[in-house]
Amino acid sequence: MTDLSRRDFLKLTRDGFLYLSGALAFGGLLRFLSHETNSARKTEFDLGFVDKYPLGSRASISEIPALLIHTDSGFTALSLTCTHLGCTLKPNETGFACPCHNSSFDAEGKVTHGPAVKPLKALRIEITDEGNLKVFTA
């Protein structure tokens, strides 16, 4: 076994500490840089194959939330987010009602009762080449 001189021991210790410090600092930097503080809200939703939504269907898509309507004219999607403060609307006999502040909208999304003043947003729809329905909220 080789005798380790005091100088070599100090050098080895110093190098070891510095390498470990570097690794820790690099790890911390990576963690800092990879942290997603502002994970963007999802704005694109793949609803699957169009055949899932036959003619005449009105499908509630809770993930968005929205109502997907399939009529003779094609697909339309109505946002079910209240235009007053953003609560999720519930369907009722005449259209939709807000459980937070009692705004209500008719089946076409027009305001029938405040405090909301703007109609419900019609969302953009695309059908992909593969036949999937995509809804965009922005």
Binding site: L10, L18, S21, L24, A25, G86, H101, N102, P115
Partner: protein, 402 residues
């Protein structure tokens, strides 16, 4: 030199290891992305156990920060809470405008009856103007009972009462020692005051003084017990200018609760205060007033009428009638278009009442959901004189013996 470098690198490693260890002890953030702000916040990492504050403020929509403020991405409690508005109470009147206001929220217009903050700020419950005016008048600091000063300086540009502004009451500028002492001893009642110590006085300040009856809960179904954290707790002794707390234990609402010299009818010790007293009386009507009597107007006759007049009623024909909004917030009655309800002399709906087909009336307790049936005075053997219609005349016959 080498030794110094080795020691320094050791210290660096130790510091980095310590920082890493402390960081690893932080909870894994739980993200909430409220619809209203669209900005992630980590408050629920620690506060997931809090109940939903109200059905009108779901956390998925509002989040925490839009009302409370605070550092939305901080996981360290001190840092996260460092910029919160009003401490744990964002409805304190010093910050309510920022926390609860906004044209879509509680700083709406007078026309749409959503000017809640303006109403509260100018109400006698906030200004304490009546008490201040009375004391200053009594001890010669002003020559009339009109309010000139309040807890805070405030203006009312659209005054309907003639009072356009209140200056701030500063007891240290008063020459009379009794008024000075009033300022020192008697300022625990206005709704933004820190309450007196003791369980009976426990309430928050600002909007939450009335609307928060349990931790992290807002309600409009306010029980009389919440009102009594300020009211009926004792008396001010004007000789010593101190508040004399009640010493009895409040177990029976009629026998032990109210002031012994006052008279009460069954309504007054059975119903909750908010069953009869309106939002305008309690929260203010948006104008500055000189005292409580100027704003409190509901009397027995409001619901019962007089010998010659039935109480005022209104058939609901407008789906936007404020009665529906109020009923929506406290769904104790299934109010429908076409229902006929009682209204006050100022036209405020007593939306928790209904006129029944037999000419009698029904009231549902807003907090208790208890149903009460009552009838008009007209057609009874009541001997009330036409010029004696105020409630205190009713008390002469209908007060309950105690």
């Amino acid at each position: 030199m080498r030794k110094l470098i080795a020691i320094s690198s050791g210290i660096l490693l130790l510091a980095l290891s310590l920082a890493w260890w402390m960081n690893s002890r932080q909870p894994q953030p739980v993200e909430l992305m409220p619809i209203l702000t669209g900005q992630p916040e980590y408050c629920v990492t620690c506060h997931s156990d809090l109940p939903e504050i109200s059905a009108s403020h779901p956390v998925e929509t509002f989040g925490c920060v839009s009302c409370h403020g605070g550092e939305r991405l901080a996981l360290d409690a001190d840092l996260a809470h460092s910029t919160m508005r009003g401490g744990a109470n964002p409805s304190d009147l010093s910050v309510a405008e920022i926390s609860c206001g906004g044209s879509s929220c509680h700083t709406g217009s007078e026309a749409d009856d959503r000017d809640h903050i303006q109403r509260v700020m100018t109400s006698v419950q906030s200004t304490y103007a009546g008490a201040i005016a009375n004391i200053r008048y009594t001890f010669g600091a002003q020559t009339d009972l009109t309010a000139h000063q309040g807890i805070n300086a405030i203006t009312d540009e659209r005054t309907q009462t003639g009072i356009t502004a209140l200056e701030i009451f500063n007891p240290t500028l008063e020459s009379n020692p009794m008024i000075q002492k009033f300022g020192e001893e008697c300022f625990t009642c206005h709704i933004n005051a820190v309450p007196r110590e003791g369980e009976s006085y426990t309430r928050q300040t600002g909007c939450a003084a009335c609307h928060s009856t349990e931790q992290h809960q807002l309600t409009t179904a306010i029980s009389y017990t919440q009102c009594n954290t300020c009211h009926n707790r004792g008396n001010y002794d004007l000789r010593t200018m101190t508040f004399v707390e009640r010493t009895d234990h409040l177990t029976n609402r009629l026998e032990e609760y109210y002031q012994p010299i006052a008279q009460f009818t069954q309504c007054e010790y059975t119903l909750d205060c908010v069953d009869c007293h309106t939002r305008s009386e309690v929260m203010g009507d948006g104008d500055l007033h000189s005292n409580q009597k100027d704003i409190q107007y509901v009397q027995c006759k409001t619901c019962h009428g007089t010998l010659t007049e039935l109480p005022l009623t209104k058939t609901l024909t407008d789906p936007n009638d404020i009665a529906f909004r109020m009923a929506f917030l406290k769904p104790v009655v299934d109010l429908k278009l076409g229902d006929t309800i009682l209204v006050t002399e100022q036209g405020e709906p007593l939306w928790n009442t209904r006129v029944l087909p037999d000419g009698t009336y029904e009231m549902i307790g807003k907090a208790t959901k208890q149903k009460f049936n009552f009838r008009p005075v007209m057609g009874t053997a009541c001997e009330q004189k036409p010029n004696e219609q105020e409630s205190h005349f009713c008390h002469e016959c209908h007060a309950v013996e105690r």
